[in-house]
């Protein structure tokens, strides 16, 4: 098992701390949409300091029809200016021509959707000229189709320079919500397709687990992450806090716990 990089999701409240150059943060993940209106220099400055991955929320790869050309151009601009090593998006849709739902929704695991997503991933690769990482989402809604979720992800990751961005927390929540074994799900993935991982603590609302990105990482998540890392050659792990973001000492502690759990210390 190689030692990959460990980093953080870049957030406005962390910007000055990260700009000071933080040892222990090997890489940062820039949410593309947060930088669409940012000046060129602000983006390239981050790229000068850290290895970057550019993460999309709104390309809506699962929407029928062509990708939004403006969104794709802006996304590619952030990747270029930050000199991103990778780009990533979700296996999901967020809108159609009728309505912009604004957040991630599952796509049915059908052959036609596989073709659609493959076409869109290739467009992203062409626009950014970077390896693409695809992320599994969490949802209470399971759609029937011709593939299981791991089969669908395996098929998508057969494309050259495409790998899985495994969201460990999403997998954990889905396993609890839908009553399956997360390790069985992991075992159904093709060896080596997990290139990156996301991890953050899960929340609980009315007895259900939710991905509110608010809490420290729970030990069960660290264990699941370690299982995945043993089976795949993981290049980077990102801790992605969005709410109640703690101060630098606590965040550094989170990164250190992740490093230890992976045996990368």
């Amino acid at each position: 098992m190689r030692r990959g990089l460990i980093g953080l999701g870049h957030r406005p409240s962390l910007a000055s701390w990260l700009a000071s150059g933080v040892s222990g943060v090997d890489c940062v993940e820039l949410t593309a949409e947060h930088f669409f209106d940012a000046p060129d220099q602000a983006i390239s400055r981050i790229g000068d300091q850290y290895v970057c991955s550019v993460h999309g929320l709104g390309l809506s790869l699962g929407t029928p029809g062509p990708l939004d050309a403006v969104a794709l151009r802006n996304y590619a601009r952030v990747a270029r200016l930050s000199n991103a090593r990778w780009v990533s998006e979700h296996v999901a849709f967020t809108r159609t021509t009728d309505v912009d739902l604004g957040h991630l929704n599952p796509v049915a695991p059908t052959r036609d959707n596989l073709t659609l997503l493959t076409d869109h991933v290739q467009q992203v690769q062409e626009a950014t000229t970077r390896p693409v990482r695809l992320e599994n989402i969490t949802t209470p809604l399971r759609l029937p189709g011709s593939f299981s979720e791991p089969e669908f992800l395996n098929a998508l990751c057969e494309l050259p320079n495409v790998g899985l961005l495994l969201d460990v927390t999403n997998l954990f929540i889905n396993a609890r919500t839908h009553g399956f074994d997360a390790e069985d799900w992991l075992a159904a993935l093709q060896p080596g397709i997990v290139c990156q991982m996301h991890i953050v603590g899960y929340g609980e609302e009315h007895g259900r687990l939710v991905d509110d990105h608010r809490l420290p990482i729970q030990p069960a998540l660290l264990d699941l992450m370690a299982v995945a890392a043993e089976r795949h050659d993981v290049e980077a792990v990102f801790v992605e806090r969005d709410l109640d973001i703690p101060g630098p000492p606590e965040l550094a502690g989170e990164l250190s716990r992740v490093r230890q759990a992976l045996g990368w210390a």
Binding site: A38, G58, R95, T96, D98, G102, V107, A108, D112, L141
Partner: protein, 173 residues
């Protein structure tokens, strides 16, 4: 084309409470109404209405969380009724684009204003200003418990907005 038209149908279901209610009662009927091909209809009919509703609630919940983060004082003014009022608003308004969260917050404050419901005028002014192409703005605004006037000054410098609010007289700003 199994799955493609289904995505469009799902979007309609996730954005339309009344359609979801009818779906829960008669799934094949709604699949027919949506004009789905047999393969797509079969997938749609296999969906658990409760899970669909949970996904729709999750979408609105994420929007509500963002709006509460952007306009916390307004959210506080609404108290326990905020959730229900937001749900009513959110089922009819779907903001677009990468600045959808501030647009959502502003549209919600307009919605409250149009219905004579409480909102924080400074927050409305702040969101309007930040979404505009202005470089600076000075306005007299009434806010706080006593609706006392204050002078709001906002200016854009070094890639970010700076603001000052000078309140005239006593009261909670």
């Amino acid at each position: 084309m199994a799955g493609l038209e289904l995505t469009v149908a799902l979007t309609r279901l996730l954005s339309d409470r009344d359609l979801r209610r009818r779906f829960a009662v008669d799934r094949p009927q709604v699949a027919t109404e949506l004009g789905l091909q047999p393969d797509d209809a079969a997938i749609l009919v296999g969906i658990d209405p409760a899970a669909l509703d949970a996904q729709a609630r999750s979408l609105v919940g994420k929007r509500r969380g963002e709006v509460a983060r952007i306009a916390p004082r307004t959210w506080s003014l609404l108290g326990a009724t905020g959730r229900e009022i937001f749900n009513e608003y959110a089922s009819r308004h779907w903001p677009e684009g990468h600045r959808r969260h501030p647009h959502d917050a502003l549209a919600f404050l307009h919605f409250l204003s149009a219905r004579g419901l409480p909102y924080d005028a400074v927050e409305k002014l702040r969101i309007e200003t930040r979404l505009s192409s202005m470089r600076w703005r000075v306005r007299i605004v009434r806010s706080g418990r006593w609706r006392l006037p204050g002078i709001y000054c906002g200016w854009f410098t070094r890639g970010r907005w700076k603001e000052r609010l000078v309140h005239i007289g006593p009261g909670d700003m």
